[in-house]
């Protein structure tokens, strides 16, 4: 199910400086509550604060649209920050009240902050006064900004969850190593969710399923080769995370483990096959081979548009093929599902550590 469509703006304000922003936000509240002149008609509820931080204005526009779509299901205060430290210090804000088209009284307050200069290094001090108190805060790190700010103690203390996409970062090995070291250092106290990890979920599910029948399980101990391909010419964190997941789950060490080959497939997918989602870097194919004596078992998963085709050949006679729908999920959908889940994910923690190690070994 996709997130509901974007709402329409009901009220709008512009403000300069943090003090003016908080004042304008308060006024928006009041206008919403009194808009019908009937204290029964309008119930304003917010269930969370959504904060998106990025360094690029166009990414900020996209993030605002995504947060509003989430807000129509989870009424929220959405704060989108575009931070740029290179100019003179300045803080400008556009505030609006966005309400559902179907008169469902669900509204989201959208605050778009343009932060320039030195304050861009101190975003927590700007965001904290704008949050609805006693409501969970979700921080979405949009694009590939430096991870130094999100991983500070003050941010971790403030937020329920930090959502980022390790697939956005060009230097995959360093990024995975940084995430892994932070997770290790904070021993389960870093509430991190990785969109790239979420994208691998259907692939992990299908691989786990393929080896789940009683007769197939012994083959897990005899895997000799794993080949993971992603679309495009570079290897992304999606592919490394999948390899890291297998290695960590099956207890493979660097020495004497099965051969794991992770690479881009060298092709750029045709645009018309998946018009809604950029497929570059997404997982395209996984092949797993296992050998017991002279017997060879093979599992192959191939993305075909918005589905994954699986074929399994496990001796002596298990040969099946099937196709499972792979709903293309946009960022709003992925974010929503990641917000619904909570807490430390030890499987991810182990996978990212293995992935970082594999990627580093590749050099």
């Amino acid at each position: 199910m996709s997130v509901t469509s974007a709402p329409s703006p009901l009220r709008y304000r512009h403000a300069s400086g943090l003090h003016a922003v908080t004042g304008a936000l308060h006024q928006l509240h009041y206008e919403l509550l009194t808009s019908r002149g009937d204290d029964r008609s309008q119930v304003r509820t917010s269930v969370m604060n959504l904060v998106a931080a990025c360094t690029d204005r166009s990414r900020g526009d996209g993030a605002a649209a995504d947060l509003l779509r989430i807000g129509m299901r989870h009424p929220a205060r959405a704060i989108v920050i575009v931070a740029n430290a290179e100019h003179e210090p300045q803080l400008e804000a556009d505030l609006s009240l966005q309400c559902g088209l179907d008169d469902n009284h669900v509204c989201t307050e959208l605050v778009r902050l343009d932060v320039q200069g030195e304050p861009a290094y101190h975003l927590t001090s700007i965001v904290a006064p704008l949050l609805i108190p006693d409501m969970p805060v979700y921080l979405w790190v949009v694009g590939a900004p430096p991870l130094s700010q999100p991983f500070t103690d003050e941010v971790i203390a403030l937020v329920e969850r930090i959502i980022l996409d390790s697939g956005e970062y060009a230097d995959v090995a360093d990024t995975l190593a940084l995430i892994s070291s932070q997770l290790e250092k904070r021993a389960g106290k870093l509430p991190l969710a990785d969109i790239a990890w979420q994208r691998t979920q259907p692939w992990r599910q299908l691989i786990a399923q393929a080896f789940d029948p009683w007769a197939a399980r012994p083959w897990l101990r005899h895997i000799t080769d794993v080949s993971i391909r992603c679309a495009g010419r570079v290897t992304t964190s999606d592919a490394w995370l999948l390899g890291g997941w297998m290695a960590s789950r099956l207890g493979w060490t660097r020495d004497g483990s099965p051969r794991i080959s992770v690479a881009g497939d060298g092709d750029t997918p045709p645009a018309e096959s998946t018009p809604d989602v950029d497929m570059l870097g997404r997982l395209a194919e996984v092949e797993i081979r296992a050998q017991r004596g002279a017997d060879i078992a093979a599992l192959s998963l191939q993305r075909r548009g918005d589905s994954i085709h699986t074929s399994i050949d496990i001796p002596p006679g298990m040969r099946t093929a099937r196709t499972v729908a792979l709903p293309l999920r946009d960022e709003a959908d992925l974010l929503s599902s990641m917000m619904a889940e909570g807490g430390d994910d030890p499987v991810y923690r182990a996978a990212v550590a293995s992935a970082a190690s594999l990627a580093a070994a590749r050099g």
């Binding site: 989870h74 897990l220 929503s336």
Partner: protein, 530 residues
């Protein structure tokens, strides 16, 4: 000596670490699902669409085989074409060519008739072939989508064909649809006969209400929230109402309904299950037997209504013609398959008392009916009023304060369908200089809080059956206890049939007969309007 290893033991010895942390942490073993009555409505509207949705979302293991069996002669191809249309029309998940292609390769048809034996060999050969080529390994689920009269003959036939016996490394399960008998005696007989062919752990009595997310959420709501359970008893709850309202009439099921009526059709199964879940003691774990033990304990504690008291503890009704959802609809006696002088109830309301420490003195009011103003299933928990009100108001007592009964009691409304959710009514101050108070609602809507679409009840239940999890299926003693309660009422009704001219007694589109309102008002209470 070769050690025979059971499937469960083997899986424990050979764990699958890849499953840890995934959404579906348990994968069913590949199996063959045989649907008897495959040309029927249920197969097309519910079973095949549910199986397809599970397959499309990757919840079924590779190799699952579905064999439709029915009297209608049909080829595999014809069956596939019919099932494809059924999926297109009824599935929650839209049909996709690539998914369908794989799904259809596991879809077969076997012409089968209960009378002659010729179809059984074909069915057996289909299943053997599935074991060889699709890895189903002798695992079978037999889904009895057949009339009640066909259940025992079919079970016997499977037994004699050697299809019921499960081995140490495979399972054989049978899924049976309601009605599970038509009174206590017939239910006992049905269970006794079924137990001759199958052990209880092989029998899955399906009540699709238990597969609904909102019904499962009742368990979570009660036992995962610390704030409600301390209030969940006679000290704080004045009474409970369970309403299952249908706006539809009997449609094309007139003949069935003439035999069943509202009590057998809805109360004995759906409402009794809701009551059991709502009222049971906290289970120590969520295992099938533990949960079902607690449900049975609750049903056993329901005070039996003596047949002589049936009329004072229940209200019967039958709908006349009227207007529902903007349409003029015929009365029950004008429906196809219904006798023009029928005295069958299409509405029933009743009050049950539960004799245990938790609920003594807190009645449960139950009602169901056809051709009511809207389709709605809900549970209302009405809490006791405040013992004293310190607030003044328009209705002042000599002390200048509101009497406690002028303040609305707190209500907790658990909506099962539609608009699944929970509403908590509490009292708040109206803003202003004066101390005026009124009730406000706090709403939780299932659809608004979880973006994931809820699976259909049959998806959940079929998957649970494949996994061997019977938690959401009715056990023999649950069914018998529910019949114990209902049969006493049926006996009383039989002894005191309504006068011919007393039915129909409510117009289609009304909330049942006037007597139902008077029935609850007699206790100083009102029905909650869904």
């Amino acid at each position: 000596m070769t050690e025979v290893l059971t499937q469960a033991a083997a899986q424990e010895a050979e764990p699958n670490p890849l499953l840890e942390g995934l959404r579906l942490t348990r994968m069913p073993a590949p199996c063959a699902v045989v649907i008897f009555g495959a040309s029927g409505d249920l197969t097309q509207r519910k079973l095949i669409p549910a199986l397809y949705a599970l397959a499309a979302e990757g919840a079924l293991p590779p190799g699952v085989t579905i064999v439709g069996a029915a009297r209608t002669p049909m080829s595999d191809e014809q069956f596939r074409a019919a099932m494809r249309s059924a999926i297109e029309e009824h599935s929650r998940v839209p049909l996709r060519e690539d998914v369908w292609e794989g799904f259809a390769t596991g879809l077969f048809y076997a012409h089968f008739d209960l009378q002659p034996d010729d179809g059984l060999d074909l069915l057996k050969s289909r299943l053997d072939e599935s074991d060889r080529t699709r890895g189903t390994a002798g695992n079978r689920i037999f889904y009895f989508s057949v009339p009640p009269t066909g259940v025992l003959p079919l079970a016997d036939k499977l037994l004699h064909a050697g299809l019921c016996q499960q081995g140490p490394d495979n399972f054989r399960r049978v899924v049976i649809e309601k009605p599970f008998g038509r009174d206590l005696e017939s239910a006992l007989e049905l269970n006794r006969s079924l137990h001759e062919d199958f052990s209880e752990d092989q029998i899955y009595r399906i009540d699709h209400y238990l597969g609904k997310e909102s019904v499962q959420n009742l368990l979570v709501f009660r036992f995962a929230n610390g704030i409600f359970e301390p209030l969940w008893n006679r000290q704080y709850i004045d009474h409970v109402q369970i309403t299952v309202a249908e706006s539809l009439g009997v449609e094309n099921r007139g003949e069935y309904y003439e035999e069943a009526g509202a009590l057998r059709d809805i109360v004995q199964n759906h409402i009794m299950q809701l009551m059991a879940i709502l009222g049971m003691e906290p289970p120590s774990n969520f295992k099938a037997e533990t949960v079902r033990d607690e449900k049975v304990k609750l049903l056993r504690a329901v005070r039996p209504i003596h047949p002589d008291d049936a009329l004072s503890h229940t209200v019967r009704g039958q709908y006349a013609a009227g207007w529902v959802e903007g349409d003029h609809v015929p009365g029950y006696r004008e429906e196809p398959g219904v006798k023009p002088t029928s005295l069958r109830e299409t509405f029933v309301a009743m009050k049950l008392d539960i004799d245990n420490w938790r609920w003594a003195g807190t009645p449960f009011y139950l009602r169901t009916g056809k051709r009511l103003p809207k389709r709605a299933t809900e549970i209302v928990i009405q809490f006791r009023r405040v013992p004293h009100s310190p607030f003044g108001g328009h209705v002042a007592t000599p002390m200048g304060v509101l009497p406690p009964d002028a303040i609305d009691p707190n209500l907790l409304v658990l909506r099962i369908q539609p608009d699944e959710g929970i509403t908590l009514r509490f009292i708040a101050k109206v803003p202003g200089q004066a101390m005026r108070i009124r009730s406000v609602n706090m709403d939780f809507l299932y659809g608004s809080s979880f973006l994931k679409e809820s699976p259909d009840a049959y998806e959940r239940l079929l998957l649970d059956c494949m996994l061997g999890d019977a938690t959401l299926f009715a056990r023999a003693d649950e069914v018998e206890q529910a019949w114990r309660i209902c049969t006493a009422i049926l006996d009383g009704w039989r002894a005191h049939p309504p006068d011919q001219d007393s039915f129909p007694n409510y117009e289609a589109g009304a909330w049942g007969p006037e007597e139902a309102r008077a029935f609850i008002q007699r206790d100083g209470r009102e029905w909650h309007r869904p």
